[in-house]
Every structure is written in structure tokens, then in C-alpha cells.
Symmetry: C4
Subunit: 240 residues, 4 copies
């Protein structure tokens, strides 16, 4: 099934791994997937490894039960159910990123909600929900989304939003394309940094709901511009 996937899509998936490391969204952990362009019941993701080191030959194909079906016997990430369960219930979504993007963590463990502070992050909308795994399995877990049941609970909390936080763990960003998901992951981190800086200055004047919507639509017209720059930066950084 990997052999039937669009070759440029596979290249973009590898590039996205490197971009997300180079821009500080991923470190040694985290992952990005893309829905198979020939079969919406399949998705492509790296085998279990550091995203900085991913190459074309490390991409595997999973089904929506989270099973690696090609190549046979290779292991992907423990948390691949984040991807499979979101792909199941969000047919318009074609790319999912799970990261521990640092500045976002504080918004999952305090009462402060992540909200769009500028026009680059209107996609955050009015709500950035926080998934609390204790509501699924109590206070004894290792916080990982280890199975379909946890993936389903997370997907429910994500609902129709672009981004959800995982308390004490990280976040998930989704997009209609790799480019949109990467854009959202990077600008969610940027928004978090800005909100952390603005907080001590007093009340923050966030985007209105209508502004969030309008800016999100506007930015979707310009995804190729930063993608080309991030790609060049990652290439200069000599990944894999």
C-alpha cells in the first residue's frame, strides 16, 4: 500500500517530520501522519523513531484500527491511535500531528485557556479544549493514548476544533493537508509563547470569533509561502 501512495505526498511527510523538529515543535518524540491519497481508510506515518531521522524508507502504512499493515512486522508509535481515531471521525482531516510542543504545555495544566492572540492563529477559534486522561482511566495512567478507547475519548474532546491539548502531555493539531497541519502546529506554539508573554501585562484583547474565522480562511490561502521557507530551513539543517 505504500507503493500506491503519491510519491510527492511521501516526500512531504518526510519533510514535515524535519520541519517540525527544526521549528521546535517536535523533539525526540511526537509524530505526524497523512491519510493515504488512494484509500481514506489508511494512513501513512513513520515507524517508531525520532522524527529528525525519518527518511522515505521509514514510512509505514496503518489502517484505521491503528494496525501497521505495510510493511509487515514493523512497529510504529505506541500512540498511533491518536491518528487512527481522529481519521475515523473527521473525514475532512487528512493530516494529524501529535507533539510535546513546549510553550503549549502550561495551558494544559493551569486554568488559562489558549486563545488566538493574533491573526496568524485564528484557526484556534473560540475554544481550545483540554483532554484530561483521568476522566478516561483515573489517576494511575502513564498518560499515553495507548489504545482505541483512549484515542476515541481524545477525538471526542477535539470535536470539530483544529487543536486540542492533552493535560500534562502535549497537544494534537489537525489539518486538511500536511501543509495546513504543520502551519497550525507551528503557529499554535507561537501563539502560546505570545500569550505567556502578554499575560503579566494585564487583560488580553483576543481576536473576536468573527476575526478568528476570517483570519483562518485568509491564512489558508497562504500556506505554501511559509512551507517553502520551513522546507529550505530544514534542508539547510541537514536532517536524516
Amino acid at each position: 500500500m505504500i507503493s500506491t501512495a503519491n510519491s510527492a505526498l511521501l516526500d512531504d511527510l518526510v519533510t514535515a517530520n524535519h520541519i517540525l523538529v527544526n521549528e521546535g515543535v517536535l523533539d525526540g518524540f511526537g509524530h505526524i501522519s497523512v491519510r493515504h491519497d488512494k484509500n481514506p481508510e489508511l494512513f501513512l506515518i513513520a515507524r517508531s523513531m525520532a522524527p529528525a531521522l525519518v527518511t522515505r524508507k521509514d514510512i509505514v502504512c496503518c489502517n484505521l484500527e491503528g494496525q501497521v499493515i505495510d510493511p509487515h512486522g514493523v512497529t510504529s508509535y505506541v500512540e498511533r491511535f491518536i491518528h487512527s481515531e481522529i481519521f475515523k471521525v473527521r473525514p475532512e482531516i487528512n493530516s494529524v500531528i501529535h507533539s510535546h510542543s513546549p510553550a503549549i504545555i502550561p495551558f494544559g495544566v493551569t486554568g488559562e485557556r489558549l486563545r488566538p492572540i493574533c491573526h496568524m492563529s485564528g484557526f484556534l477559534g473560540a475554544t481550545t479544549p483540554v483532554y484530561e486522561i483521568r476522566n478516561s482511566v483515573g489517576e494511575n495512567s502513564d498518560l499515553l493514548i495507548r489504545n482505541q478507547s483512549l484515542g476515541r475519548d481524545l477525538a471526542k474532546v477535539l470535536s470539530n476544533n483544529s487543536v486540542a491539548l492533552l493535560r500534562g502531555h502535549g497537544n494534537v493539531c489537525v489539518g486538511v493537508s500536511i501543509q495546513q497541519a504543520v502551519y497550525r502546529a507551528i503557529y499554535t506554539e507561537n501563539n502560546a509563547k505570545l500569550q505567556l508573554q502578554a499575560r503579566p501585562l494585564g487583560e488580553i484583547n483576543y481576536l473576536s470569533d468573527a476575526e478568528a474565522l476570517a483570519t483562518a480562511e485568509m491564512n489558508d490561502q497562504h500556506l505554501e509561502r511559509p512551507w517553502q521557507m520551513w522546507k529550505r530551513n530544514a534542508q539547510n539543517a541537514k536532517f536524516s
Copy 2:
């Protein structure tokens, strides 16, 4: 009309694009322009693209209505009206920078005003105005300066200042030369970082108005020194 522009000026415009990315003022978005040295009713700016990737052949020439007139048919930035409208009403200004320079954003969305905290940023003067687009078009916009009318409103708020903030969006810095505008853009970001750090320490002793004026005049004598360093840094970073 590009062919009649001073060749060193075009080189400086390309270099300024790379410097502003390398020093963290621009990311994949934002732009810098310079007034045409042979015709004050024209200005030079890149076509619509990431500033890190700009080369000489990407420079286009616009008139003060914000229309690209050379080469025919090329598209420049949606927000080129920021440049055209400021060039219209500020004849002494020859370079305009619009950026989303990160540390400045918090000062556009809170009650805290950006003020000169040290002698490198005296050009900020007593006032750093904030443009609120809601006063022009209400709460439903995508925040972009998409037309002459919005550019005019922004230019009015900028008035005779060196820098104006755009709420939830970014800022605009102007200068008599590319070198002065670049200096101001970089040190406005630096001043914002320092003001964010000093804020939790208690009341801040800003420059007096006379000190702001005197330091601004003094720094204008030394623009070439950091320009040469930033240029070298950008060249080492191997842009475009």
C-alpha cells in the same frame, strides 16, 4: 522602472529582507519596501513570497496607488497598501517595514504601551500608537490592510511616529533609509523583549522625552556599524 533604480539600493533591499529574517523580525510573512531613488511616486518591494527567499529578480515596482507597474502581471503582497499610503503622506520616509515581530505583539493587545527602555530605542519617542482595525471596519475583518482606505487609516494613526502597532497583527516601522528602518525594526523588537522582562520588577524608569530625542539623533550617526554586522550574519546564514 526597476531598471532605472540604483543597483546598490536594490541589493540593499534584498539584503534587508534576509537581515530581517535572520534577526527574527520577519518569519514567512512581512515585507520591506524602499522608495524609488529616481521617482518618489514609486516604490520597490518583493513579489508575494517568503522574505528569506527574495533575490534581485523578485523585486517589483509599485506606484502610490499600490499597483504593481513593473514587471507587468506580477503579484506583490496583499498588504502593499501599508507602504503606498505611508509613502504618500510621509515624504521624508523612504523605507517601510511591516512585520509580525513577536515580542511586540503583546503591546498591541494589552494596556501596556511600548516605551523606550534604553538608549538604543530612543526613536520610539513618547508615543507608540496602536492601530485598531475595528475602528475602521468593525469586528469581522481578517485584520489585513487590504486596500487604500485601511492603509490611509493606519498611516493616520502612525502620524509622525517611527513605529505603530497593529492590534493582534504586528507593527510597521519607517525610516529615511533602508538602514534606518531595519535598525528601528530590530531595536523595537529588542525594546519589547526588555520591557517584557522588566515589567515584573516594578515601575520602569523610561528615557525622558529629551533623552529619547537625543539618543535617536545619536544612533542615526551609527547606522552603518550594525548594518555591516547584520549583513555579514545574513550572508553566513546563506539566504536565497
Copy 3:
């Protein structure tokens, strides 16, 4: 005795020195040791030098009295007693790191305790003790762990924990392997950064004790993944 040590272990020790500098844990000071694989009463550490510059030929062998026994006459770090005294009382521990890792310092000099804010740092557990050298030798010391007596006092405060802070000085991280100690040193710094950022946002929802335990066990299964990435990063940075 150095000649009898596992060659890959010595290579890992050199690599760990470079990784810890490259990831911002060590600067010109600080050190990492590993217990000799053939003799648990010995440990390997660099001679007294900047960790960025350490090579295989700079490794020396010490006994648990903190004496360099091979090669004869070479001097190691003044604070080698941190290592010798911990190796004495923690037989399961095979690697010790002492650093001035910056974001951790504030938690040694204020009432704020370092606690696990996310699943990557569950190894911090419920307690991150702070060693106060004034309790050992009063208010006149140079804060260094200069002898066995101070090393013993520090080891007592560390007790069975993974990490202890030294007030106004730095911290010590321990692990069953070089890879685990390095992982803990890097993620202790990361946790400190996140806790500093989250603090102004209000009350923090830390990992429960059971979550800390479960995540620590889980992460121990994945130490090789970030190690390979950090190693590659250090190699790209061309150390020594």
C-alpha cells in the same frame, strides 16, 4: 583500569559530555561519570576540563574515595566527590551528572519546588530535594562539594531520588545508565522551563504520584530514541 573498560561505554561517556553541552545542560563546567563495567568500586570521568572538549584520551579512572588511580598524576574535577559518594550508597546507579543547568537554579533558591509538570519528567517523583550546604559548613563556603564529607551529606539529601538541587549552585541527576542519566538531566531542565512559564498562570496541576511512577517506567523503555537524536545533533555540532 581504563584499558579494561568497555570501549563502547567510553565512547558513550565522551558523547554524553558533548550532548549535555549541545542541549544546554552543561556550559564550561559540570561533569558526567559512569561506573566501571568491570569493577563497581571504580568510575570513569574526564580530567578537569570543559566538557565540550573531552575526547577518549581525557577520560580518567577514580576509586570510590574520589582518587584518580589511572592514569597516575592526572587531576580530575574538584567536585568528583559528588560522584564517588553517590556511587557508594546507590549500588543500582551507574551514571551521575552534576550541572549548573540554568532553569533549575531558581528552584534551589526560592520556596518553589520542582515537580513533574508533564509525562516526560515523571522521574522527578513527588520530591525534588534541595541540598543546603550551610547545613554542613555554615555561611562561609565556596559552595563546592570539595571532600568526602560534603559528598556524603549531598548523597543523604539525594536519598533514593533521581534528582537533587544544590542551593545557589546547580543539581545532580543519577541513572542506571549514561542514557538514563542524560535523559533525566535534559528533561529536568525542560521541566524547570515549563514550570517557570506556567507559574504566572495560576495553580499547576502536576502529575499524580502514580502518574509520575507510571510515566517514568514508560519513558525508560524509550531512552534509545532521543539518545540517537542528541548524538546526531552533537556530531553535527562538531565537538572536540
Copy 4:
């Protein structure tokens, strides 16, 4: 007179310029000097230029009136009087650094005093004085130390300390050698960053006066270790 100076001293002065840029103490502005090793009434400093670009041939020799005496006709920094006046009244001091090192600025414009938060910065001692130029020339100046009279006033405020801040401007660090002055400049910046981070966590337990003294003496034994590392870093960064 430059020809009579120790050649290694001149090399160290060039290296120190690059180190201070590479470690974030200097940007396009600021300067370091060293007293002439053959004549204590002379000192060596770069001509007026960005420190990143300084080479051996850019070093000039000044007398303690702040006049460039070799080579004839070359201009050095406007603020060379910082150096000449400190060399005049501090015979034990052989190197002076003036910088706008960023994290230090907030401590010059607020009521918060810079104090030693850890053992690396014991040289700060109990007092880090702040020079207020308004006490010398009122509220209309450009803040620069433009003449002997201002240099004298600053030297008085510095008194016997290692570091003094200049309100809204920067700081001055002094040492018995280039290596000690560079060490102090870098660790003053580090201390400022740590104090800014610790401030929101509550009351800070600073070094006692005796600890500050003891750690300062101890660190003076280890100046060569970080110097070699910083030198290597600057060489890798390919300055000048």
C-alpha cells in the same frame, strides 16, 4: 606602541571581541579594552567598529586621556572614556568591557538590584551599583559617556566593584585580565537571566557576603577552562 605590546595579548583581545558577540554580551555595539603590558598609562581597544568584525589590524592604542595615539588619525569609540577613567583609578584592573548585555538592562531601570544568585557570579558581591547619568548632566543627554568628566563620575559609582550598571544604557565589567573580565561579563548576563526567572517565584536566597567572596576567589582559579571553550565556539562561528 601597538608594536611593543605582547602579541598573545593582542590575539586575546581580538578573540575576546568575538567571544563576547558569540555569547550574546555584545551586539553591533560595545567594546573591550586591555591595559598595555609594557606601559600602564596606555590601553588597547578596537577602532570604532562592530566587535564581531575586529581583527588584529583594527586594534588602536589610547592614553589615559582617552586619545588615540597609535596609529595616528584613527577614530575609536565615542565612549572610550569609560575605559580611560577606570584604568586611571583602578591600577589593579587591566581589562574593561562596556556592553548592552540584554538581561542586565532591566536591573538598571527598576528598583530590583542585581545580586549573586549562584556560585558562578559571586564576584557581584553585595552591591551592584547603578550609574544615573541624570545626576551628572540632567535629563537631556544622549546617555553616552562622551568625555572624561562623565567617565570619572561613572568610575566613582563603580568604586571597587566588579560591575556597574548604566541606567537605560548597559553596564561595565572590569577584571585583572581579559579572561577575568570576559568571565564576569558572561556570568553577569547569566545571573541577570536567572534572577529574572526566579523573581516571580518569591523571595530569593542569595549568596551570603562570605559565600560571594569565597566563590569569587574559587572561580578565579578556573578562568582558563571556560575561556578555551568560548574561544573554540567563537572560532567555529567564523568571526571576521
